[in-house]
Amino acid sequence: MDSSKELIKTVDLLLDISSLLMVSGANTNRVNLSIYRFASALHFNTSCFISHKSIVMTVYEDNSTLSCTRVKNIPPYAINFSIISSVSKASWTAVEEHWTLDKISKEIETIKKQKRYPKLVVLIAVSLSGAGFCNIFKGDYLNMGVAFFSTFIGLLIFQLTHKEKYNVYLRIFSASLIASILASLGIIFNIGSNPQTALATSILFLVPGVALINSFTDFLDNNIINGMVRFTTGLMTVLAIALGLFIAMILFQLN
């Protein structure tokens, strides 16, 4: 193959991998490490600039003047730890077994095709974790039932609005509003011994845990810009959640 064509193919593949990792919720350090591993398996050097919405990357060789620089836009984020794990495993095997370009791109295609858990399983698991939260904050079984129900409906709203391609903060706001309205009914009708906990925990499924933890690790690695972006995203999410809760509390005059 022509060496410049190979360079273009390599940079496209590496960009694909790094955008896949960013979308799945890896921190910047992990993206850099994975690119470094894949590039060293292919005997190339890379330098790149990673931001929240796009990646710029240059691939070059030590003993030649050829180089290739490309930019890739990152699609919307959807956290997926299975992909992070498989890409990490693939990067180690690629280094150990000296994989070729074709083999790596084939592996990445199979990783991309991995299925997510079915929506119903996710709904039930997350609602159970809402009930679990309610137990942690000293709610009884009736409160846990309320938390389970409101989390279920809230997440359902969140999933359904995803198909309609609404703005993500609007989706978070409406999910939080509906979940907290349902949980407020528990306070109005005085269900269980501690109905406030159900309201407090019914919205916790929206908490941007991954964004905030990644933002902190990015700060520690001196990736300040990405850390700031992730922190701001997390903050916006928290504001949207709080606004939904706030409006539900005003509607029902809870104090």
Binding site: F81, I84, S85, G132, F137, I203, V207, G209, T217, L220
Partner: protein, 162 residues
């Protein structure tokens, strides 16, 4: 005594379930499901046992999360997955949701409802107590999860000898 232990175990089991629920939301690989549950269970057990012995919630959370941060290194070698995959879900049940709720509630009362001066001072006290407890818990989660790796000065778990 027995009821206390049973209560602690129950609340720890629910933290495990909460961790697992978030894990499934983040689409963790099927082979780490059990690990996530056990880590969530252990972290919850540590946190609530410490709180039973009157350790402050911030310190208890920090110790529990720090434990997760340390234990994830040998576990990562054993089950062959990078630590992020099974370290973030068990820390999610530590998120101070109730403190956040209390803060929002008292801010709302302070702005929209309360006119009595003495009660307004009380509300300021509630806002600050709950708000800062929440912030300190968040800091202790973030520090506890990343401190073990920083102390070992390694950027990948693979390079740490077993």
């Amino acid at each position: 005594m027995l009821t206390t232990i049973l209560n602690l175990l129950e609340v720890a089991a629910w933290s495990g379930i909460a961790a697992l629920g978030f894990g499934i939301l983040f689409n963790i690989p099927k082979s780490v499901i059990f690990t996530v549950f056990m880590l969530g269970f252990t972290a919850g057990l540590i946190k609530f046992s410490l709180m039973y012995f009157n350790v402050h919630i911030v310190l208890a959370t920090f110790i529990a999360v720090f434990f997760v941060g340390i234990i994830c290194m040998p576990v990562a070698h054993k089950i062959h997955h990078p630590p992020v995959v099974f370290c973030i879900p068990p820390t999610i049940p530590m998120i101070p949701g109730y403190f956040a709720y209390e803060t929002v509630l008292s801010v709302m009362n302070f702005i929209f409802m309360e006119d009595d001066q003495a009660k307004r001072v009380e509300l300021i006290d509630t806002i600050f107590t709950n708000g800062f407890t929440m912030i300190f818990i968040l800091i202790s989660i973030a520090a506890g999860i990343s401190l073990p790796m920083l102390l070992l000065r390694k950027d990948s778990v693979k390079k740490i000898e077993e």
